[in-house]
Symmetry: C2
Subunit: 308 residues, 2 copies
């Protein structure tokens, strides 16, 4: 059996001393000026994106345990972008980072299985298996158990992980996800119960006590994160919303257990596009990314440490 | 302004005389024997899949107005598969088919916008725009309005469509999606109300009275389809579940209005893998696909016609 993903993630967090993840959302029009050539076509845009991602990975690898790579900014360019996504995943892993592919895939039966194999399993080439796929992916749970099972089985068999979207961090999430039953129980809590049940099946729980089936729980709603923490004791939470989306380190701390484990906080734009923040004026963009990554890690480390 | 997607789809349905769509879910291990070479690597598998899809498209193009292409079976092979997906979309459109890309993407803000551009907009090459993207895609609505807006705006601007997953056809859908409030209103009905509101914004409704924002409503639950029909009067329903998933033509008819408009029924495996059905024993696989496509179209045409 391959190693459990949650165990590997927790070890990586401990080694770096901070439960944080940098999100690579490389929108071309937000890249530092010097990386935006006068692109005459989209292939040239992907070259700028590739260079940017490579440099960001080298800067953050000594500071953070994990990166989350947002597939949309690569799919934007069709197969050329998908190729680049694979190369960036591979480079991140070579640098010792745990890699989460933010793909939010969802479907049922054999189709979900095809997604799981395409996004989690090594692929077979004439030269043997090539693994340019991430260590874990995000998935959308709206199909219920039979949509999640193929992803969960692949994760178990390949030593990989899945993070199921439970409560998202965007403003209109509440309109949809807070739909409540007669007892006041909300839809996302109902979904969380399903995730907890699916994630506790045999073979999914590591030595750490956590499952390779985790959950995405937005930091912008800390009271909800606390309730979800008790509904899903064995799930590692991937927590978006820090920084650009407005959540503070104290908000994020709600997603952790008292012992400081159980979650990893993601920041994307506030780190990778730090050169746009006047706080870092006068630095070159690489220095801005490094400073922002270090401050982010320290901010979360302190808030989570203060909890215990 | 480009033409409204719903108008174009309704015209195509009228021209072919049947509100049906063939789903291309080309799982390699289900292809006809003669297309499964002794593949030594995955590139050779994609060659078999490509040949299969090309032949199926030629067979069904005179019979049905639309095809739904399931992205998972292409993403399964990374960038090589994504390239093939674009070629199959282009070929289908050249044959006069309306093309629905079944991608079920979902995210928020700029990330959803990147997905929308990657999967709906033409892409810019050094030689000008190249449109190997489908006429419409499926999306998952769990993020709510601010996750759907970027897809909807792109669809409006490009003359394309989106189908939001509302009620899926799989067995465990009920456990998740039937979660009800104190008045008995179900989660998927709540989502349907959001889709109806989002889809009625200015610029989205065509001359037909239908919106370029449609909904996926599984045929396996006809009573629910009837209720959803009244909640979403301006949405075209994309109806999965016929055939392999067990829904009959009469079940599917529940998704249509009395005038026989408002929905398109999809069948995937029961048509493209008809060679595996003993009903078609003795036919070569191409004849089996043609017979199954004709019977499917006739079955739905009769059931919907009987409604008026």
């Amino acid at each position: 059996m391959p190693r459990n993903f949650a165990d590997a993630l927790l070890d990586a967090i401990q080694a770096k001393g901070a439960p944080v993840c940098v999100g690579l959302d490389p929108a071309y029009d937000r890249l530092p000026d010097k990386l935006r050539r006068r692109a005459s076509d989209e292939v040239e845009e992907t070259e700028g994106i590739g260079e940017f991602c490579h440099v960001v990975l080298e800067i953050v690898a000594p500071i953070v345990p994990a990166v989350k790579i947002q597939s949309a900014y690569f799919e934007r360019y069709g197969s050329v972008g998908v190729d680049l996504y694979g190369l960036i995943v591979e480079r991140a892993r070579d640098l010792g980072l745990v890699v989460i592919g933010d793909v939010k895939r969802n479907d049922i039966g054999p189709t979900a299985e095809a997604y799981a194999r395409g996004h989690l399993s090594p692929r077979m080439s004439a030269y043997g298996p090539v693994d340019r796929n991430p260590d874990a992916i995000t998935v959308n749970g709206y199909f219920g158990a039979d949509g999640l099972e193929p992803f969960v089985q692949t994760a178990r068999d390949e030593g990989k992980g899945v993070f199921v979207l439970v409560r998202t961090s965007n403003p209109s999430a509440a309109v949809i996800q807070d739909f409540a039953d007669a007892s006041g129980r909300k839809f996302y809590e109902h979904l969380a119960e399903q995730v907890a049940a699916i994630g506790s099946a045999p073979g999914l729980i590591g030595n750490s006590g956590y499952s390779c089936v985790g959950a995405v729980v937005g930091a912008t709603y800390p009271d909800e994160a606390r309730r979800l923490r008790s509904i899903m004791p064995q799930q590692v939470f991937l927590v978006p919303g820090y920084g650009a989306q407005g959540a503070t380190a104290a908000d994020c701390a709600a997603a952790f257990k008292e012992d400081g484990t159980g979650a990893i906080v993601n920041a994307s734009r506030s780190v990778i596009f730090a050169h746009k923040d006047k706080k870092y004026a006068g630095m070159d963009w690489e220095q801005a990314v490094e400073s922002a990554a270090r401050e982010f890690a320290e901010d979360i480390r302190r808030a989570v440490g203060a909890k215990g």
